[in-house]
C-alpha cells in the first residue's frame, strides 16, 4: 500500500474526514507502517498511550480485562482508528488491542500528531468539530439514558 492509498484510508476515518488531504499526506508520511501477525498485541490495557493506530487491512480484537480474564468487546476493521483518545489527552489505554490475523496498521505517534495540530490550526478545527459532534451525541445519549431511567 502506497502513501497515497494510506491518505485515502485516512480520509475514510471520521476523525480525519474533514482534514485537508495534503496535511493527511504529511501525517501519513511521518507515521510508521507497522505489521502484526495474529495474536500480537498493539498495546495493553493500562499502558501509557503514545500512539494511535489506523487499521489498513486485517482486523483487530478489542479486549477488556475482567475478573474472568480478557473479554472481547469489539472488533476493529479496516478504515477504523484505535487508541485515538491517547493521542489527544494523557490517559492510559482503556483496552487491549490484539491482531486477529495478519494486520497492517499506520502508527500515528502522539507527538507528531500534536505537532501537526500546532502547525496547522485549520486541521485542529476539523478535529475539534468531529470531537464536538461526538460529545453532543454522547450528551444526547446520556440524556436519553437518564430520562429512560427516570
Amino acid at each position: 500500500m502506497l502513501l497515497k492509498d494510506e491518505v485515502g484510508m485516512l480520509r475514510r476515518v471520521p476523525l480525519f474526514a474533514g482534514v485537508d488531504p495534503s496535511k493527511l499526506k504529511l501525517l501519513a508520511f511521518t507515521s510508521d507502517r507497522v505489521s502484526y501477525t495474529a495474536g500480537q498485541t498493539l498495546f495493553n490495557q493500562g499502558d501509557e498511550g503514545d500512539a494511535a493506530y489506523v487499521i489498513l487491512s486485517g482486523t483487530a480484537d478489542i479486549l477488556v480485562d475482567s475478573a474472568a480474564g480478557p473479554i472481547k468487546v469489539a472488533e476493529a476493521e479496516p478504515n477504523s482508528i484505535v487508541g485515538e483518545i491517547a493521542i489527544l489527552c494523557d490517559v492510559s489505554r482503556t483496552a487491549t488491542v490484539r491482531a486477529a490475523g495478519q494486520l497492517e496498521t499506520l502508527r500515528i505517534r502522539k507527538e507528531d500528531f500534536l505537532r501537526l495540530l500546532k502547525e496547522f490550526p485549520e486541521m485542529t478545527v476539523e478535529i475539534l468539530r468531529v470531537l464536538a459532534d461526538r460529545l453532543s451525541h454522547t450528551t444526547a445519549d446520556l440524556i436519553d439514558a437518564r430520562s429512560r431511567r427516570n
Partner: protein, 904 residues
C-alpha cells in the same frame, strides 16, 4: 609576584641580558668600521688621495698604536698596496664587514627571540600554575574566558618585548649617541641645534603618548570583558534560548563593541596625531640645518663640506631615535599589561606549592578519623551554611547526611573535600589540619562526587581514568631522535622554569584501582560501571561506534560467528523476518537505494553520500545500465513529493529530522531546481543538476517512504549495476569502499551494523528494541560483552561531556570517584539527574561496591531522599547550620522530630 616588569625580567634573565649586551657591544666595532669605510674608499683609491704619484703604494692592515708606558707597539707590519689593489682590498673589507654585521644581527635577533619566548613560556606557566593554586572561593569571582585571554593573549606582547628590554635601548641609544657625536664633531653649533630638537622630542612625545597608554589599558579591559561575555554566552546558550534573551545579549554585545570601537578610534586619532608631531619635529632639524647652516655658509663662516657632512650624519639620527621612542612606548604598554595581569593573579591564600608537590610513591591509607572542630562555613557573601559544629567520622563508617533546605549538608560535604574552606574552626585528619595535607593524600585517599560534574574533552575512558592520573609513574625510555627530542624538551622546560613531567609516561595509578596494570584494570572498571548502571549505556555507545580494528581484533575476527549467532537467535525466537540480511546478488528492500547500489560502506569522501552521484566512475556505471535516467526521474519525483509535504513547515520543525532526502535549508534550492528542470528532457540537463537530483533517490527506502517508486525491474537493474560497479572498479577507488561480504568486517560501519549485516524491517513493531536486547544477550554469551564495552569507552564525550546525558555524566563522575578506592568517599547529592528510584538503586549498588573485596572505606553521603538513610550505619541531620541529630536511623526515627519530619 614582582610588580615591576623590568625587575621581573632582569631577575630571571640578567645573565642572558648581560651576555647579549656584551655581544651588542662587540658588534658595535664592525658596525663603526663599516661607517668609516665608504669614506676611506671614496677618498683613497677612487679620488686618489695618497696616490698622487703613479706607482704610489699605501700601507694596508698596519696595526700599531701608542701605549702610554710602552711607547709604539706594532702588532702587524701590513702590506704595501698600490691604488687598484687598495680599492680591491678595501672593498673586500667592506664586504667582509657587511657579512660580519649581518651575522651579528642574526645571532642577536635569534638570541633575543629565544630569550623572549622562554620568558613567555615561564610567565604563562606561572600564571596557569597560580590558577591551579587559587583558593576554591576565588573561582566564584573570575570568568574563565577572561583568565584564558590573559594567559593566552595579554601576556603575548611580553614575549616580544623581553628580548628587547635592555638590548634595544642600549643599542639604539648607542646608535643615536654615535650619530649625535658625529654631528658634533663636524660642527658644534649645528650639533647643539640637533640636540635641542631631540630633547624636545624625547620630552614631548612620551608625554603625549601617556594618553595612548591610558586608552590602551581601557582597550585591554574592555576586550577582556568582551571575551568573558562571549564565553558566558556560549556556556549559557540554553538559558538564552529558554528565556528568549538572545536580543538582550545582542544589545549587550553591541554596546560593548561600541565602547571598544570608541576607544580604538580615539586611540587611532591620538596615535596619528603623535606620529604627525614626531615626524614634524624630526623634519624640522634638516630645515634648520639648511636655513642656519646655509646662512652661515653664505657668510663664509661654515664650509660646504662640513654642512654636507652634518646633513649626511643627521640621516642616521632620526631612525634610532624614533625606534627608541617606540621602544619606550612598548615598554610602558607591556608594563601596563603586565601590571594588570599581575593584579588579577595576585590572590591571597594561594595553595602552598608543597601541598601540590608531585608524589610518585604510593600514599599510605588515611587511617585517622576525620573530625570537624568548631567548623563554620559560609559562602562568598558571608551567609552562614554551618555554624560552629563539631563531629567526627571514623574510618569505615557509612554516614547518611540529610538536611533541610537551609541545613548546609552540601557545604559540609564540600568542606570535607576541601572545596569550601572553613570560615573558622577546622577539619582535622587525626591531628593534622585537612588543609595542610598534601593533595597527594587528599586527592588519592578521599574521593568526591557531586551533581556538578566536570568532564575533560576526551573519551569516556580518559574521563574514567582521570581520577587515577596523579603522577608520571613510569619512565619512558626513548631512543634515537625521540631521545634527543626528550632531552631537548627537558632542558628547555628547566630553562623556562617549567616542570619536565613526561606526558607520555603512564600516569594511571593501576594499584589505586586495585589492578596490577592495564591488562586487569578493565575488570575493575566493569565493576564500577555496573555499580552505577552505566555499562548498558556504554555498551549502547559501543554498538553505535565503529571500532579500531587493531585494538579490537576479537570483534573483527569473530564477526562471522557473531552474525551466525544472531541469525540463530532470531530463528530460535521466531523473529527471522525482523532483519533483512545483506545478500550478494539480492536487493535489500529495507536498505536505501544508494546502499543497494554500492553494497558497501564508503570509506573516503569519494563515494560518500552526495558525492556518490557526482563520482564519474559511478555515474558511468549508472549510464551503462540505463539507471541514470530512471534514478534522475525518481529524484525529481522525490523532490516533488518532499516539497509538497514539507514546504509549509518552518525550517526548524522537528519533522525535518524524519526527512532523509534533504535538509530543511535545501528545500528552497530544490524547489528552484525542480521548477527549472520540470519538462526539460534528460539530455539537456547539466551534469551537476543531474547529480543533485539523482542523489535524492539514493536515500529512498520503499517500505519507509511508500511513494511506490521501486519496481521489480528497477531492483534487478540495481543489482546488475552493483555487479558491474564491482567488476570494473578502478584501482583508485578500491580503498574508497568496503564491500558487504558475509565474512568481512566493515571497518567504516558501526559494531551494530556489522553484527546485523542487514537492516531491521521497518514495519516490525519495536524492531530496534528487540534487536538490541537480543544482541546484548548474545554478546554476553559469546564473551564479547567486555570487548564492546571497551569500544564504548572510546566514545568521545565532547566539550564538558555534552554528548552525554546529564544522568550519564553524573554516573560517570560517580564511577570515577569509585574507581580510585579511597578511604573516605564523599558523595554530595551526586545523582540529581536520575529519578528517585534509579538513585536509590545506584545507592544500594555503590554501598555494596565500595565493600567489594573486603575493603572498608568510610562513606559520607548527602542524601536527596532521607528515607534511604536506613541503609547507613549512622545518620546526621542538619538544620539551619546546626547538627540537629546524630545517631543510627532507628534511634533518630524514634526520638528525633526534625529527622522524622524530613523522612515523612
Amino acid at each position: 609576584m614582582e610588580k615591576s616588569l623590568a625587575r621581573y625580567i632582569w631577575s630571571h634573565t640578567w645573565r642572558q641580558q648581560l651576555w647579549i649586551l656584551a655581544i651588542v657591544a662587540v658588534s658595535m666595532v664592525p658596525y663603526f668600521l663599516s661607517f668609516d669605510l665608504p669614506k676611506l674608499i671614496v677618498n683613497g683609491p677612487i679620488q686618489g688621495e695618497g696616490f698622487e704619484t703613479p706607482g704610489a703604494t699605501r700601507l694596508f692592515m698596519n696595526i700599531d698604536f701608542t701605549l702610554p708606558m710602552l711607547g709604539q707597539v706594532t702588532l702587524f707590519e701590513g702590506f704595501q698596496l698600490n691604488r687598484q689593489e687598495t680599492l680591491f682590498a678595501l672593498s673586500l673589507v667592506f664586504l667582509f664587514l657587511v657579512v660580519v654585521n649581518g651575522l651579528f644581527k642574526f645571532y642577536i635577533n635569534t638570541y633575543k627571540g629565544r630569550l623572549g619566548e622562554r620568558m613567555l613560556r615561564r610567565i604563562r606557566f606561572y600564571l596557569v600554575d597560580r590558577v591551579l593554586r587559587f583558593p576554591p572561593h576565588h573561582f566564584k569571582r573570575v570568568k574563565q574566558a577572561e583568565i584564558a585571554t590573559m594567559v593566552k593573549d595579554e601576556v603575548e606582547p611580553l614575549g616580544g618585548f623581553i628580548g628587547d628590554a635592555f638590548v634595544q635601548p642600549a643599542l639604539l641609544g648607542g646608535q643615536a649617541l654615535t650619530a649625535m657625536v658625529f654631528i658634533m664633531i663636524q660642527n658644534f653649533w649645528l650639533g647643539m641645534i640637533a640636540a635641542a630638537i631631540v630633547c624636545i622630542q624625547i620630552v614631548l612625545i612620551p608625554r603625549m603618548r601617556r594618553r595612548l597608554l591610558i586608552l590602551g589599558r581601557e582597550r585591554q579591559l574592555t576586550a577582556r570583558a568582551l571575551s568573558g561575555r562571549v564565553g558566558e554566552i556560549v556556556d549559557g546558550i540554553d538559558t538564552i534560548h529558554v528565556h528568549d534573551t538572545s536580543n538582550y545579549e545582542r544589545a549587550d554585545i553591541a554596546a560593548r563593541l561600541g565602547r571598544i570601537f570608541k576607544i580604538r578610534y580615539d586611540l587611532y586619532q591620538w596615535k596619528f596625531l603623535v606620529k604627525f608631531i614626531n615626524n614634524f619635529l624630526a623634519q624640522i632639524t634638516p630645515f634648520l640645518f639648511y636655513l642656519i647652516g646655509g646662512y652661515l655658509t653664505l657668510h663664509g663662516r661654515l664650509d660646504i663640506g662640513q654642512l654636507v657632512a652634518v646633513i649626511a650624519a643627521y640621516k642616521d639620527l632620526p631612525g634610532p631615535l624614533k625606534e627608541l621612542i617606540d621602544w619606550d612606548q612598548i615598554r610602558q604598554d607591556v608594563q601596563i599589561k603586565y601590571t594588570q595581569v599581575v593584579e588579577q593573579f595576585s590572590v591571597d591564600n594561594l595553595v602552598e606549592p608543597h601541598i601540590q608537590a608531585v608524589t610518585v610513591d604510593p600514599v599510605a591509607p588515611l587511617s585517622d578519623p576525620l573530625a570537624a572542630a568548631n567548623l563554620s562555613l559560609s559562602d562568598d557573601s558571608g551567609a552562614t551554611f554551618l555554624d560552629r559544629v563539631s563531629f567526627e567520622i571514623k574510618p569505615g563508617e557509612t554516614i547518611a547526611i540529610v538536611s533541610t533546605g537551609t541545613g548546609g549538608a552540601e557545604a559540609v560535604a564540600q568542606a570535607f573535600a576541601r572545596l569550601n574552606w572553613p570560615e573558622s574552626g577546622k577539619i582535622v585528619a587525626g591531628s593534622v589540619d585537612l588543609l595542610e595535607l598534601p593533595e597527594s593524600v587528599t586527592g588519592r585517599r578521599i574521593s568526591y562526587a557531586s551533581s556538578d560534574v566536570f568532564l575533560v574533552h576526551g573519551s569516556l575512558r580518559d574521563n574514567l581514568l582521570y581520577g587515577l592520573k596523579h603522577a608520571p609513574l613510569t619512565r619512558v625510555s626513548y631512543e634515537g631522535v625521540e631521545a634527543d627530542h626528550r632531552r631537548w624538551a627537558v632542558e628547555e622546560a628547566r630553562k623556562a622554569g617549567n616542570p619536565d613531567f613526561d606526558l607520555r609516561s603512564d600516569w594511571v595509578d593501576y594499584a589505586a584501582a586495585g589492578a596490577t596494570g592495564p591488562q586487569d584494570l578493565f575488570a575493575q572498571i566493569r565493576h564500577v560501571l555496573e555499580a552505577v548502571f552505566l555499562s548498558q549505556d556504554i555498551l549502547d555507545l559501543g554498538l553505535r561506534s565503529p571500532v579500531d580494528p587493531e585494538r579490537h581484533k576479537a570483534l573483527v575476527e569473530r564477526i562471522v560467528e557473531l552474525r551466525l549467532a544472531l541469525r540463530g537467535r532470531l530463528e530460535a525466537e521466531d523473529l527471522s523476518d525482523l532483519v533483512v540480511p545483506f545478500e550478494p546478488g539480492t536487493y535489500n528492500k529495507e536498505a536505501n537505494i544508494g546502499e543497494n547500489l554500492l553494497f558497501g560502506a564508503a570509506r573516503g569522501p569519494e563515494l560518500a553520500d552526495r558525492a556518490l552521484a557526482a563520482n564519474p566512475y559511478f555515474a558511468a556505471v549508472l549510464k551503462q545500465t540505463g539507471l541514470d535516467r530512471t534514478l534522475y526521474e525518481m529524484g525529481m519525483g522525490i523532490a516533488d513529493q518532499t516539497i509538497e509535504l514539507f514546504s509549509d513547515l518552518p525550517p526548524d520543525h522537528p519533522f525535518f529530522q524524519q526527512l532523509a532526502f534533504m535538509g530543511a535549508e535545501e528545500i528552497p534550492t530544490y524547489q528552484a531546481l525542480l521548477q527549472r528542470l520540470n519538462g526539460r528532457s534528460y539530455d539537456t540537463v547539466s551534469e551537476a543538476d543531474r547529480a543533485a537530483m539523482t542523489a535524492l533517490s539514493f536515500a529512498y527506502i520503499e517500505p519507509r517512504h511508500r511513494f511506490g517508486f521501486l519496481t521489480d525491474d528497477l531492483m534487478t537493474k540495481i543489482v546488475e549495476a552493483r555487479n558491474r560497479f564491482y567488476a570494473g572498479l578502478p584501482a583508485t577507488l578500491k580503498d574508497a569502499i568496503e564491500p558487504y561480504e558475509p565474512t568481512r568486517y566493515i571497518i567504516a560501519a558501526t559494531v551494530m551494523d556489522n553484527v546485523l549485516f542487514g537492516r531491521i524491517r521497518h514495519n516490525h513493531p519495536e524492531g530496534p528494541e528487540r534487536i538490541r536486547a537480543i544482541i546484548f544477550g548474545m554478546l554476553d554469551e559469546l564473551g564479547l560483552h567486555d570487548e564492546v564495552l571497551d569500544v564504548g569507552l572510546d566514545f568521545n564525550v565532547g566539550v564538558g561531556g555534552k554528548r552525554l546525558t546529564g544522568a550519564q555524566r553524573q554516573k560517570l563522575d560517580m564511577a570515577r570517584a569509585l574507581l580510585k578506592r579511597a578511604d573516605y568517599l564523599i558523595f554530595n547529592r551526586p545523582l540529581l539527574a536520575l529519578d528517585q528510584r534509579a538513585q536509590d538503586q545506584v545507592l544500594r549498588n555503590v554501598l555494596e561496591e565500595v565493600r567489594r573485596g573486603g575493603r572498608e572505606p568510610a562513606v559520607m553521603w548527602v542524601l536527596g531522599n532521607p528515607s534511604m538513610a536506613a541503609m547507613f550505619d549512622r545518620v546526621m541531620a542538619f538544620d539551619a547550620g546546626q547538627l540537629v541529630a546524630d545517631g543510627t536511623y532507628e534511634t533518630l526515627h524514634e526520638a528525633n522530630d526534625i529527622f522524622r519530619s524530613m523522612v515523612s
